[in-house]
Symmetry: C2
Subunit: 206 residues, 2 copies
């Protein structure tokens, strides 16, 4: 799949398609057109057809896409048919909030460990997980086969945490700290910074 060089923009839209398709499926809707998808998601239908065509011919002219089949395909493409364990460092408000999303992640992706460097926070419980000290990070990540790390520490500590994640062998990092972190090429980093979201939104103000 990766040899196709699907652009990051497309990869970022797939979970959004998936969320809407899951909603349709829960309402027992069986097919959906690119027009319907486009209207709901405020995207050009031609763009949607192009995005989905990367992965093969899913749609049928005049009928649209089979919802269940498309869900299955997108889940495969995004590797959501695998179990993926996630660890989080930074048991502050944001870390707690993200742990609460576990319910939405279904059974395939799960935050299975939470760490913090502050002694006062060690042992506190967040959604049935006890906050662990950083000294246990590498062993825990190996034992639980954690593949994705989430960083929710202050900006000044983010690079250190990223270095620990890399040492422990995680394959991807989602960084919420408002700072750019550097990792080796083989580790994928997404920056999920609230300030950049707000700043790009400001562009659309009149």
């Amino acid at each position: 799949m990766k040899s196709l060089k699907i652009s990051e923009a497309v990869v970022r839209r797939l979970p959004i398609y998936l969320r809407f398709l899951n909603e349709l499926n829960m309402r027992n809707v069986q097919t959906v057109s690119s027009q319907d998808l486009g209207q709901k998601l405020e995207l050009n239908p031609a763009q949607i057809r192009k995005d989905l065509a990367y992965f093969g011919e899913f749609g049928k002219k005049g009928i649209g896409y089979d919802v269940v089949y498309l869900i299955e395909k997108i889940r495969q493409i995004l590797k959501l048919d695998q179990h993926i364990n996630v660890a989080l460092v930074g048991a502050g408000n944001l870390g707690r909030a993200l742990s609460n999303y576990n319910a939405y992640l279904r059974d395939n992706m799960k935050i299975v460990a939470v760490f913090d460097a502050v002694p006062d926070k060690i042992g506190a419980r967040i959604n049935n997980l006890a906050v662990q000290p950083m000294s246990e990070l590498i062993e825990t990540i190996h034992r639980l086969k954690v593949r994705i790390g989430i960083i929710t520490v202050p900006a000044g500590e983010a690079q250190n945490v990223a270095d620990e994640f890399v040492k422990a062998g995680v394959e991807a990092i989602l960084n919420f700290a408002p700072v750019i972190i550097k990792v080796p090429n083989e580790v994928r980093v997404h920056h999920a910074d609230f300030t950049t979201e707000l700043q790009s939104l400001a562009y659309y103000l009149d």
Copy 2:
């Protein structure tokens, strides 16, 4: 500017350029090449030159971009040279975490009001703001000239909050609830959903 129809992907990259340029400026670096930007941000230098060319000829061949000038231009394009007031609904862990980002937003963009529907939370203080009841939302938004609304309530309540924001006249909404909300065309919505971030990251796992 908007008549240029700059793509959302470009608008989303500009704050990322800005953050790195601000870091360079703090270190008194005066010029930067698209190669340097590309290496730091893991983007193709040609892509960066193309992105910035939308807004005029900023760079000089063989010298690069003037850091201070580029910061100023990007701030203008993103309208960050204006004061923009922001309101937030949902004083839970995520709402508190986002309010803590106020420090990073500098003086131009600020969360100036926090609301919640749960009576127990009214009056609690978050970063010098008292949580207000929803009944005060419209009046407060008018009085403080709030232009952007942030939604950090559970999925089931997000559409109601969006409707209130629209009634109050906000121009843009940043929605953190894991659900698609519908608003009139003239209101811009960005969905900042943690689950979609994680799902798109899973694509890059081996």
